[in-house]
Symmetry: C2
Subunit: 408 residues, 2 copies
Amino acid sequence: MKFGGTSVADAACIKRVAARIVDTYRSGHPVVAVVSARGDTTDELIELAREISENPPEREMDMLLSTGERISAALVAMAIHDLGHDAISLTGSQAGILTDTAHMKAKIVDIKPHRVQRALDEDKIVLVAGFQGVSTNQEVTTLGRGGSDTTAVALAAALGADVCEIYTDVDGVYTTDPRMVPQARKISVISYEEMLEMAATGAKVLMLRSVEFGRRFGVAIHVRSSFTDAPGTWIKDEENMEQAIVSGVSYTLDDAKVTIYHVPDRPGVAARVFSALADASVNVDMIIQNVSEGGKSDISFTVGETDLPVVHAVLDGMREELGFDEVSTDTDTAKVSIVGAGMKTHPGVAATMFRVLADNDINIEMISTSSIKISCVIGKAHVQKAVQALHDAFQLERENIQRDEVFG
Amino acid sequence: MKFGGTSVADAACIKRVAARIVDTYRSGHPVVAVVSARGDTTDELIELAREISENPPEREMDMLLSTGERISAALVAMAIHDLGHDAISLTGSQAGILTDTAHMKAKIVDIKPHRVQRALDEDKIVLVAGFQGVSTNQEVTTLGRGGSDTTAVALAAALGADVCEIYTDVDGVYTTDPRMVPQARKISVISYEEMLEMAATGAKVLMLRSVEFGRRFGVAIHVRSSFTDAPGTWIKDEENMEQAIVSGVSYTLDDAKVTIYHVPDRPGVAARVFSALADASVNVDMIIQNVSEGGKSDISFTVGETDLPVVHAVLDGMREELGFDEVSTDTDTAKVSIVGAGMKTHPGVAATMFRVLADNDINIEMISTSSIKISCVIGKAHVQKAVQALHDAFQLERENIQRDEVFG
């Protein structure tokens, strides 16, 4: 069981989480619960660090930030004791979460949950501080944002758990953002691959890395609400699953489109640009290159809005070397995507998407596809209309939709 | 160097501490600095735990409370980095502070400062989270109130440091409380034994345990102000020291006197009472037994005021078994003490103390002595007068006082 920051924000919340854990334990399941830092604790600690240093060393940031989850874990353990059950809190290190040495964005390299297993054998409920581990250098590390989900899924894998339950403030994964489309429907089961594409294209429920971990080790993940007992969304292997053609519509609003005009059209230029951006840790999403006249072409690509200053710095440094004219950026863009495992065998899906957008007078600026996803960059102003229209067109408000009904 | 909670209360304080550490480092001394939790952090965490559980498990309290010092250590390390020097923060466990398994009041059993030494060898400034260690069971432990002083002194001993500097909000150890006696003088050097008696009889500057540690391992302790560069008070071996007859006057206001009336005067009764109190962790200070008529006697003793509820519970449980009449308690008492290594060879000191109190119409209710200390229990209302009169009588406002001047 994994509980996020809002679930452990204050004493009342912590007692509620404890009661929920004890309920599960009493119904006969050994429980390991991973907790995040309370509410805004992590942000407050980051703010404190910034007051002290413009550029604090990452090792020390990890020493600092890892305390938030430890506090939560100890408090939940206390609340469980108060309900008459034996509980023990463990730091990431004590729980055997071994990581690489990349502070603030460490990757789990191994899990040796001896202490967790021993405590379970002693019939204890085990609380684990999420988001952290100990590196191969014996240093405290953190896993980056969303790291507690990864901790939970990785521990579930290492312990051979029946399920990794992720408790959150929404009650599952929806066909699209319910704030945007009232008919959005909670998905009962979705495959890892679809969930990965949904997360990558804007669905905020789960972090990419935790789903990836789940897929790799075959951990069934159940995303559900901290506030109700209703079942949420199961994320599991697609084998034996009836595959929806389209499972969901996702979108992002924080992309920016960058265009470099009149780049000399000779081999290696694109490689030079994008490897320089990669070296600067800029995550480039879509890329389009138009061949223009006179041996020069325009290159457009999308990046996260927050990366724009770095992009400008990198490109400015290459202007003379590459001899391009001008760089323009457009933050008035959005990306809308449809995701569905059934697409693999239904080539008409892309055409339907493009037609739906065209019928709504929405211009498509860029397109990118994978075997189970199609993304279009459009103007930010059209996002609501696009998401609603796509949700309607693929009849996502209905469960178990048949191909013929959509493509009839 | 050890810095208390008020020294690291906010970003400005932390930067000041960092500057101080860097100054020492730049003047050629390798530095290990032990820090406490910021300001009220520990009290806030305790409050949070109480909101969740009436009686939180001590193991979890240690998991919770140990985070405060880790936060401070990481923040000071960041501030030092910002000043251009390499610093690393270590938890108590990483610093090799090994303790017994008594949570919330663990005792240091060994120090294995390999990582501290390695960091020093790499020319780094080392920050250590005070007040905590790791038990022989691999559990996080805390050392109880004042534990950061003990961490500092113990590490200084293990590393063979030249000095353990304790930075605090007062500028040293005074002949008595300067708020009570304006003529109180800062003591430049005092022996471990005297400091132990001063601390045990009410001087609040240093915790007993850290001084005891210093004595056992011969660590020179320098208690000084975080706010000035002025030298403070050195606590070291009494060898070769010119011993003052009386070094200081201390007092406590939180004692209570308990009297049990008409206890049958047969062997083993006192032992029964005081072992029962000891079993209930009540620290009994002074004891007087008066033989009264008819084979019954009265027993009086002093305990900390906060222990009174426990004392009553213990005594009520023994009333029938022991057959005593009545228990009275008096919280209107205080204890005033004079401490001085020179007393050992000057038997007139006690007589002088009693005469001074008598001259001031102060009734002595109980007396206890050690080779370098005399304590008297008096009415709380007379404390100020008593402390002032004793400070005057032994001329403590003057340094290097000669025996003949006092006993002339």
